[in-house]
Amino acid sequence: NINDDTLILLFILLDGTKNGETFAPAKDQFQEELVIRPLHSGDIYASFQFRTLWDTDFLQEGQKKVSHYRLFPKSLGQVLSKFSVQELHISFTQGFWRTMQWGQPFIPSPPGAELWVWFHDTVSDVDGNWKELTNVLSGIFCASLNFIDMTNTVQPSASFKPLGLGNATDHRFLRYATLPREIVCTENLTPWKKLLPCGSKAGLAVLMKSEKLFHSSFHSQAVHIRPICQDEQCTSKAWELRQTLNVVFDHYTSGQGKKEWSLFKMFSRTLTEACPLASSSKVYVDITDNPELFELSPATPLLSQAVVLGDRRTYSVYDLTRAETFGQLRSFNLLLRWKGDNMLRPLLHAERYVAGFGLQTGEIHTVIYNNHPYRAFPVLLMDSVPWYLQLYIHTLTVTSKSRDNKPSYIHYQPAKDRHRPHLLEMLIQLPPHSMTEVTVQFERALLKWTEYTPDPNHGFYVGSSVVSALVPSMVAMSTNFTQDQPLFSSFVPVKEESSYFVRVYTEPLLVNLPTPDFSMPYNVICLTCTVVAVGYGSFYNLLTRTFQVDEPSPPLAKRLANFIRRIRGVPLLA
């Protein structure tokens, strides 16, 4: 950074000596920060902030007009000078912030798009500037902000006071508009990322992959531009550009139900370096509720305390400008693992899926897990497969621990087309602490066009398999039937003390069948009948006609003459 500054200084000095003017170069600095706050519901909240601070004045005209941009994005700088903008706040949000479950966000935003702007008091036509500004911003952010017009713009008198420097209290220079229906997608994220000095190539911005960011409960990206004081006495002003991105990842959809979060799991990337243009690059993890709640790795000695939103919270700090943060592998992946993961491991568990590719054949795999450490027990597996998936029972294999496990009882009733489905029942002995896999191949049938559902490419559902078993119980149960047993424990009758009856249902399957073209019944009938008719026609010709020498018919004049002669009764011409 120092070398760059020196070079620029030299260049400008040289340039200045030519023009006979010297002026000090504008200094700019860039900071990036990521705050990770685990929420009580198991979700996780990540907040990125990128701040560019620049000692310059956009609102100047003439010689001093800003033309050399370094860290500050040129497109925004030109917008600020052209429309004499004092403060600009724009946000795009997908989802609604659930305050009751998640607490307060660092930077709040409403769903949809929100834009509020304070214009400089030298502007004469604020409405005109506002209209043009919305159009220009809509081009910069690839959003349909051009729908902002007089019908949805207001001038709040008290609510949106300037967040930066500004002695303007005349609310005629404030405009506020929201587009609640605006959808945020990758096309909005990409130009937003381009405004960053390092783009999405280095630093914290590499984590912003749209397929993970948009697969979340809440996503909000914003740009805030305001003039601020550099020091307490406010002797010099600087422009501050803050780009913020808040995202909340859902425990169930992104986290697959496990209470464990890492940078890789959230963003499918890890950090490899800080942005070289950043003066500070830090990751903060909120550990106020630790160490009871979760464990954090890699460990860091840096701690910081901050009072935010009326609460004093403790953060672990990771400084990305230091090489040792990245460790041996040159990659930094934060891991938060919730303690006390006493997820119940059920003794019997089953899954089912379809294997294979194409629309001709396939294989149904049913996987049954026996998690008992030392007891083996038999299970009864029942499969009911619709008739249009023709099962081949000679391909049935049952393997446990990669060895063949022959079922002791098999009852199979094959399907009859359009009458009844397949029924397969097997008694399988599950070895202790093992996984048993049952596979059977099938062929997909082509149905009549009227037998397909209205959305045929959605696929056809196959009902769940049922696994019924008497699982050995750790606790002895009483077989006495008493009247005042609670309802939840008296559903299944207990026949013996040492085992309890359990029924496990697997997932249903969704299978695609080959489809005919539904728009073509009449065409198909016509074309096929045409081919049959061609056959019929050829054979008819060959069967009913005989070969004759081709005598060409006489010309018209001769035929007419012959006709007249016949009437007269005179001999005909040759």
Partner: protein, 409 residues
């Protein structure tokens, strides 16, 4: 004659053995052009597995073979490969025999053995290494034709009954076989002559009798009449719409329910009703009639495969002397070659790539059947024309002495 034939057979054995052992066999045995729900080997294995489980193979809709097939394969399931390798030889031998017979009759000719292999190769290549019972059916039909040509009425009747028992359509071969025997025994085909009726009734008795015996045996094998709706009901009512190279599957996949029965009847009658007119026209040429019947069955049956196509194509070398009268042979060969190449491509695009749809495969089916119809009618035309030239001379003149053209009128 014997030495080149033996050499040819040895070469054929080697080729087939090599192909059976290669990985190509598994790939081809799954293809829909080669196996159909009626004769897929996978289904035979499935039926035997069901039998082992104690369930009747006909209780489901996966097995459509006759009980005698179960009987045969129950004992030879381990030697299935050998059975499939041996059966196509019957077809080969028969075509050689036909070629030699006709050569003796007409004395025009070249070495038909080479052309026999040439004809066999493209058509049979796929079907010989496929695991399907089509080869066995073709072998039975070939044996039947062999016995007919050799003059043994009893064996011919029994084998025809067996062929009919396997799939109903060879029923139409009764008429040409009868005509051949009548011609051979110098009995004129005259409905008023008692000798005609005498022989006809004898032959019919052999045929129907063997059919009854075989059906009765099947009944006693499994103890029920379940196999009749499963096999013959299946062939006639076409419930399974698995794509194949025929015309039925897409037609009935897109049929309006109201007209389904009507069109099933129309399509099935279409196979049988050419018998009587063809028999009347070709009553002096029963061998060609057999060829025509087999071709019509292969094109219009409910579940055709390339095995059925290969059966009648194997007889084409016997009529190599018709070459000079064929009008469309170039077009037909191009169409059939192009379709053979396009079948697997469009199947892959529809089923695996998902970029084409069923219409593409259906279009090629139409074209292939059209090509076959054109081929058969072309050979029929050539045969009739040659007969005309045999009676009226090769170079015909018009009344004024100029060269004449021959037309069908």
């Amino acid at each position: 004659m014997a030495a080149p034939l033996t050499l040819l057979l040895i070469v054929a054995v080697t080729i087939r053995a090599v192909l059976f052992r290669s990985s190509l066999a598994e790939l081809i045995s799954e293809r829909v052009e080669v196996v159909s729900p009626l004769n897929a080997w996978k289904r035979v294995v499935e039926g035997l597995a069901l039998l082992d489980l104690g369930v009747s193979p006909y209780s489901g809709d996966v097995f459509h073979e006759t009980p005698l097939m179960i009987y045969l394969f129950h004992f030879t399931v381990d030697y299935a490969e050998i059975v499939f390798m041996v059966s196509p030889y019957f077809v080969d031998c028969l075509s050689c025999l036909l070629a030699s017979l006709d050569r003796a009759k007409i004395a025009i000719g070249s070495n038909n053995l080479k052309s026999d292999l040439l004809f066999n190769f493209p058509g049979c290549l796929r079907h010989i290494i496929s695991f399907s019972t089509c080869g066995l059916n073709n072998a039975i039909i070939a044996l039947f034709i062999f016995c007919t040509l050799k003059g043994s009425a009893l064996l011919s009747g029994i084998l025809l009954a067996l062929a009919t028992y396997q799939s109903i359509y060879p029923l139409t071969l009764f008429a040409p076989a009868l005509l051949f025997f009548l011609q051979r025994l110098y009995i004129p085909v005259n409905l008023r002559r008692s000798s005609f009726w005498c022989f006809t009734l004898q032959y019919a008795f052999i045929y129907v009798g063997s059919l009854v015996v075989i059906t009765g045996l099947s009944f006693f094998l499994l103890g029920s009449w379940d196999f009749i709706p499963s096999v013959y009901g299946f062939i006639f009512s076409v419930p399974d719409l698995t794509p194949n190279i025929g015309l039925f599957w897409y037609f009935f996949a897109e049929m309006f329910e109201h007209f389904r029965l009507f069109f099933i009847c129309v399509f099935q009658i279409n196979v049988f009703f050419y018998t009587i007119p063809l028999s009347i026209k070709l009553k002096e040429h029963p061998v060609f009639l057999i060829f025509m019947q087999i071709a019509i069955i292969s094109i219009f049956k409910s579940y055709p495969t390339v095995g059925d196509v290969a059966l009648y194509m194997a007889f084409l070398p016997a009529w190599s002397h018709l070459y000079r009268f064929l009008r469309n042979i170039f077009l037909v060969s191009c169409v059939l070659l192009a379709c053979s190449a396009l079948f697997p491509v469009l199947w892959h695009l529809w089923i695996y790539a998902g970029s084409a749809n069923s219409n593409f495969y259906y279009a090629i089916t139409l074209l292939f059947n059209f090509g076959q119809i054109l081929l058969v009618s072309d050979y029929f035309y050539a045969y009739l024309r040659r007969e005309h030239h045999l009676t009226h001379g090769l170079y015909l003149k018009k009344k004024d002495g100029t060269e004449a053209t021959l037309v069908l009128k």
